[in-house]
């Protein structure tokens, strides 16, 4: 299974003595990224100042939606998407769920939380329980409101449709990795008159959120919003770190574009970035 000679036969010599061919830039960029993000996370956790995340338009809608549900005496539905527990979008949803659950506990509004993934369900159960505890309302926590519907996409979809039609939530918050079921949830949510908030990075579903939901967090906004809303230092540090690298990428694009105008055929920066 391990045959170094065979692999050696077509392995080019190392660059700078230790790196495999074409891996210098990945190493430098990757390491710099890890260091910068780690430093910011550490600072945030230690309570030291890091740049503030701006308020995301549409984030107020979460408060507004819960407030309206409270006034109407109807429940709030929260779906974390149908992605796996290690999916970045699902992880972003955890933080938002904590916030929503805490608000619902304070206002004494019923929160219906539905799940497709069994591991996500286990995590969410803990989050909601913990949030009710933190809000000082452990007695108001109802374990039956955090629901595992089915591991199968369509059965999950049918289950949520039934819940929406029967229990008529006044707010429908869909935060996570959504797929084909988006369209169906949004239509039914619209018919039962719920305020709908969507957040996903799945570009194929974003158009439907924009067309049919009241508020949509586009792509990365969902990560920033989850950091903003939860004030979780790990998340905040990550968002700031990503922004620093976005500025770096921005600078590379500007320099590269200028070099491109000088000599469209041979752009030294392009060569370095793709070949080293």
């Amino acid at each position: 299974m391990l045959n170094p000679l065979m692999i050696l036969a077509d392995l080019p010599p190392p660059t700078w003595g230790i790196f495999a061919e074409g891996q210098v830039i990945p190493f430098l960029f990757g390491t710099a990224f890890v260091v910068v993000v780690y430093v910011l996370i550490s600072r945030a956790r230690a309570g030291e100042p890091i740049p503030e995340i701006r308020k995301i338009a549409g984030l107020d809608a979460v408060d507004e939606a819960i407030g309206r549900a409270t006034e109407m005496g109807r429940p709030v539905h929260f779906g974390p998407g149908i992605g796996a527990v290690s999916n970045a979008q699902t992880i972003a949803a955890f933080a938002v769920l904590g916030y929503v659950a805490k608000m619902c506990a304070q206002y004494d509004t019923q929160l219906i939380q539905t799940n497709r993934n069994i591991y996500v369900y286990a995590v969410n159960e803990e989050i909601v329980k913990q949030s009710y505890l933190e809000a000082g309302r452990p007695d108001a926590y109802n374990p039956d409101d955090v629901r595992y519907i089915s591991g199968f996409q369509w059965a999950y979809c049918a289950g949520v449709l039934g819940i929406m039609e029967r229990e008529k939530p006044a707010a429908n918050i869909m935060y996570g990795s959504w797929f084909a079921e988006t369209m169906i949830f949004l239509e039914v949510g619209n018919i039962v008159g719920a305020i709908q908030i969507g957040a996903t990075t799945n570009t194929a579903q974003l158009p439907f959120f924009i067309a049919a939901a009241d508020y949509t967090l586009i792509g990365e906004e969902m990560f920033a919003a989850s950091a903003y809303i939860s004030k979780e230092p790990v998340l905040r540090g990550t968002v700031v770190g990503q922004d620093i690298f976005r500025i770096l990428i921005f600078a590379i694009i500007i320099i590269g574009t200028i070099l491109q105008q000088i000599d469209p055929e041979e752009n030294p920066l392009a060569r370095i970035l793709t070949e080293f």
């Binding site: 299974m1 391990l2 045959n3 170094p4 692999i7 392995l11 010599p13 190392p14 003595g17 230790i18 790196f19 495999a20 891996q23 990945p26 190493f27 990757g30 990224f33 890890v34 993000v37 780690y38 996370i41 527990v85 290690s86 970045a88 699902t90 992880i91 955890f94 933080a95 904590g98 591991y119 286990a122 995590v123 803990e126 591991g151 369509w154 084909a180 369209m183 169906i184 949004l186 239509e187 619209n190 018919i191 990075t201 570009t203 158009p207 439907f208 924009i210 067309a211 049919a212 586009i218 792509g219 990365e220 979780e232 790990v234 990550t238 770190g241 990503q242 690298f245 976005r246 990428i249």
Partner: protein
């Protein structure tokens, strides 16, 4: 120990992958081919988890005669029946193929086909031009729908080229902006997992 060792395994395995790719020695030692093989095999042996889960859930439904329990029975019969056949004659055997082509494929495809109906009714009942943004979105959607289908070119010559231009230039450009950002986001999540700052997958969030 119960939480620390798994976290350590995650970190070590993640770093091993990185070492095996970035460093010359890592490639020389063929680390990737070993880690890949490990993943393939460990996944293979974990595969029955779905069957066990379903048996537990639906077995209980049948046992306690819960609402809709006959359907649970259908599920268990279909599952073990098909599994027995496919284990005996492989999934390519004649009976297994018959069941696959006669039941599995039609049901699965029909379920995905349902969305066409939902989209059609949503077109009438939900897609509103509430804002200027939504209006632009809907107009672009209609230009694309008709332009990518043969009808656009029949109605107005050149419509197809307009729709194609839309895909080649503005769409590709905007999606690139989103893709670059998303890649940074995935890297950040991967990095948090490797450094042990993210533990949701081990049960419990925010313990860090």
């Amino acid at each position: 120990m119960r939480k620390e060792l798994p976290l350590l395994i995650t970190t070590v395995f993640g770093l091993l992958m990185v070492f095996g790719r970035w460093f010359w020695l890592g490639q020389l030692w063929g680390i990737e081919s070993i880690t890949d093989q490990w993943i393939i095999i460990s996944n293979g042996f974990a595969v029955a988890i779905g069957v066990v889960n379903l048996t537990q859930l639906h077995g209980r439904n049948v046992q306690r005669r819960r609402e809709h329990w006959p359907y649970s029975l259908v599920l268990i019969v279909a599952m073990y029946g098909y599994m027995a056949i496919a284990l005996y004659e492989t999934v390519e055997g004649p009976t297994a193929t018959w069941l696959y082509d006669g039941l599995f494929t039609p049901i699965g495809s029909a379920m995905f086909a349902l969305i066409a109906f939902y989209i059609t009714s949503a077109a009438y009942r939900v897609f509103r031009v509430r804002t200027r943004e939504a209006t632009v979105l809907m107009i672009c959607a209609v230009i694309t729908m008709l332009g990518m289908a043969p009808i656009g070119e029949v109605l107005i010559s050149g419509w197809h080229s307009v729709a194609e231009w839309g895909m080649d230039v503005p769409v590709s450009a905007a999606f690139r902006g989103i893709t670059i950002g998303a890649r940074l986001g995935f890297m950040a999540t991967a990095m948090r997992i490797i450094l042990g700052l993210e533990r949701a997958h081990l049960g419990g969030y925010g313990a860090s």
